[in-house]
Symmetry: C2
Subunit: 232 residues, 2 copies
């Protein structure tokens, strides 16, 4: 295992559209990716699909979520909100000390049969804050990537959106911003404390509503801030 492999990105729930899209973009940027899934065969199939799109150099493998989790200290969560808490309880023993968990989860009301353009109230304030409560002590959580269109990620065009990163740990913020900036067309910005994820998560529901109403793949850009506020 070389230095690169020790910083593989494990995408938990990586066979869904958002996880697969992120994996594609990061693999294209030369990162080593582990696709995690409940089903190892599905994870391997997604990894194979990505390799076939990018070429033989692509470092993408697939395994069950707990194995993916144990194989990396950089975890990206792209699971539906309704599965998040149970999954984190299952993964807890497998999470390596010092790991950074980047949570892209949005608590859409669709999780309980409601609309994808509405959110649920989460006791802790946001899905990402719930994650922070469920991971082992000392594990840092950053919220990011909630507002990046899975459809656009899965394509070949550059993106046209910003990623707002929220975390209570400056190191986790930095790691998440660097990952965001690896996606062509994305600018990353420090959005402050993890508690602010409650707003960023809700923007995802607003964008889903705009997508339904106006037929598109909405994202957001922040305007009016100095250029050095962004990492790209």
């Amino acid at each position: 295992m070389n230095a690169r492999m020790s910083r593989a990105i494990a995408i938990i729930g990586g066979t869904g559209p958002a996880g697969t899209g992120l994996a594609l973009r990061w693999a294209r940027a030369g990162e080593t990716i582990i696709i995690g899934s409940r089903d190892a065969a599905r994870a391997q199939k997604t990894a194979e699909t990505i390799r076939s799109r990018i070429g033989a150099d692509a470092q993408v493998s697939g395994m069950e979520n707990p194995a993916a989790c144990a194989a990396s200290d950089l975890l990206v969560l792209t699971v539906p909100f309704e599965g998040q808490a149970a999954l984190l309880k299952q993964l807890k023993p497998a999470i390596r000390p010092g790991s950074v968990v980047i949570d892209a989860t949005v608590p859409l009301a669709a999780s309980v049969g409601g609309r994808a353009s509405r959110t649920l109230g989460v006791w802790q304030g946001s899905a990402a804050q719930q994650t922070a409560e469920l991971v082992p002590k000392g594990i840092s959580v950053a919220a990011a990537f909630q507002n990046v269109s899975a459809d656009v990620l899965s394509g070949d065009e550059d993106l046209d959106c910003d990623v707002i990163v929220c975390s209570d740990d400056p190191n986790a913020t930095q790691v998440a911003m660097e990952l965001a900036a690896k996606i062509a067309g994305v600018r990353a910005i420090d959005g402050g404390k993890l508690e602010n994820a409650r707003i960023v998560e809700q923007i995802a529901a607003l964008l889903i509503g705009l997508n339904m109403r106006h037929k598109g793949h909405g994202g957001i850009r922040i305007t009016g801030l100095p250029d050095n506020a962004f990492m790209r």
Copy 2:
């Protein structure tokens, strides 16, 4: 009173930075503006300042809030959240049947001594939904302009942001979008039902946090939607 005057824009709380900035932009676009304030003298002083900036042609007057309200059927609310409910109770008898109320209020936690980068939970879901409950029956409410920087509005440069309009009445949505599109650099977009104001209001708190952290005057643009989704 000519046809134009019958569609004057009354800006309730128009002596504050957001109200004054909107008045300046709309007066510049040739609209007739009534600045409303608790204090008629202050309202007249603000009107005079705007006229002196724009020139003798500017149609801007100032009066007490209830008089402003009675003089127009197009009301724009730019009052601090902590004063909103009491003001609406005071104005209720003065609101003309068939009026459209455009609410720019954000329920910032600063209203109760907290931070401007956090919001309060409003029982009805959002400040705009509270407004809808407090206006007379049959009066339409649209939520808009929460995310437009007052500092930028007060300047001379074109804006660089979108205005998301939420309302349960298509006519109110249309009126608010037309007003937004009169501001140079602003694109207006239909954000769906009034209930979505709860998300748009929270974006204002997020932007305030970004402004503090990164020293700027943040706004948002929606990307990834077809051009015909926007009015400009």
